[in-house]
Amino acid sequence: MTPRRFARLLDIHGADPARWPQACRGAALALLDSSAEARAMRDAAAALDAALRSSLPQPDPAALARMRNRLAHAVAREPLPVPERRLLRWLRPLAPFGAGALVTLMVCGLWLGLPAAPEPDDILGAPRLMAMMELP
């Protein structure tokens, strides 16, 4: 593993080797053993991880109790959950096909609804006919 790839690994997964993908964990740990540059990168990533952890406070138990209480009151005012109709449940997997069919229908409808462009012969047909009638 190159230092560049190691830096990318830290950027995505942080400094904790337990979060690194199994496929590259061994190579990353080997690089850590051999490279002071890699260790410095790991330390910087670990500092950011620690700062992130400490920046998010644990929820206050009183606040959690208040939320749960308010939620219970809101749920008490709500009607009971309604199961999905059996027909809709069967049809739901077909929804993407249904949407595709709807789009196809709309395109066909537009295509059929547009007036066909007049043929050049139709446009010039009448004057030419008149001219031919006048010739004799």
């Binding site: 990318r8 950027d11 995505i12 997964h13 942080g14 979060r19 910087a44 990533a45 500092a47 950011l48 991880d49 700062a51 992130l52 952890r53 400490s54 920046s55 998010l56 406070p57 929820p59 606040a63 959690l64 208040r66 939320m67 749960r68 308010r70 939620l71 219970a72 809101a74 749920v75 008490a76 709500e78 009971l80 959950p81 309604v82 199961p83 999905e84």
Partner: protein
């Protein structure tokens, strides 16, 4: 009127008198619900009971998931009051959706994370994100005064940098680092590919690192 019967009761009369009257209908349902061991039930069982109208089962389920949903919402919005609203709204949607939730199609945790993240992102887009209100108060009391002050300043820098991040990047941090979801789980909760999630995390960490070093992006 004699106090005692002139003859002993028939055996069938005794058996009927001793037999408990079986409860039926709504009364029996209510009694069965009261006898349920809610703390021992797993999430899927609680959700099934909630879908059948058991509000106590739903309360138990909410108690399990509320802390983590609140933390996700707090990371994204930065405001405890907004985070409370978001976590409650997400669980209220679960109640409304309970009878239609199909565990075979999605995991409950992923579903809840997705709803919470989307609600929080919508809120942030309506109102500009603020630094976490409690940031700066978290210095370790065991530190000396100078170290505590330095830690407070670092936390304030980080909070300001987090508020600068786009809400989707904050959501990626919340799910991947705060909640410890795998890349695939976090990506599913945010409805993005794993590669896109990695991009969100990389950009977020770059900006945070730069701000903590006192530099720009």
């Amino acid at each position: 009127m004699p106090d005692t019967l002139p003859f002993p009761p028939f055996a069938w009369e005794v058996s009927i008198a001793e037999r408990p009257i079986p409860l039926q209908g709504p009364v029996a349902d209510a009694e069965a619900r009261l006898l349920r061991d809610l703390p021992a039930a797993d999430d899927a069982t609680l959700l099934r009971w909630a879908a059948a109208g058991d509000r106590r089962a739903f309360d138990q389920l909410a108690g399990r998931h509320l802390p983590m949903l609140y933390r996700v919402a707090l990371r994204i919005t930065g405001q405890p009051a907004e985070a409370e609203d978001v976590a409650q709204e997400a669980l209220l949607r679960l109640w409304r959706h309970a009878a239609r939730f199909d565990p075979a199609r999605s995991q409950l945790g992923t579903w809840l994370y997705r709803i919470t993240a989307n609600l929080a992102i919508d809120r942030v887009r309506r109102v500009a994100a603020q630094p976490l209100e409690r940031a700066g108060e978290l210095a370790d009391p065991a530190l000396g005064p100078e170290a505590a002050l330095a830690e407070q300043q670092r936390q304030a820098l980080l909070a300001a940098a987090l508020a600068e991040l786009p809400p989707r990047q904050r959501a990626a941090l919340a799910l991947s680092y705060d909640q410890g979801l795998s890349g695939a789980e976090a990506a599913a909760a945010l409805s993005v590919s794993t590669r896109a999630l990695e991009g969100l995390l990389r950009r977020a960490r770059h900006l945070l690192s730069a701000r903590l070093r006192g530099g720009g992006t």
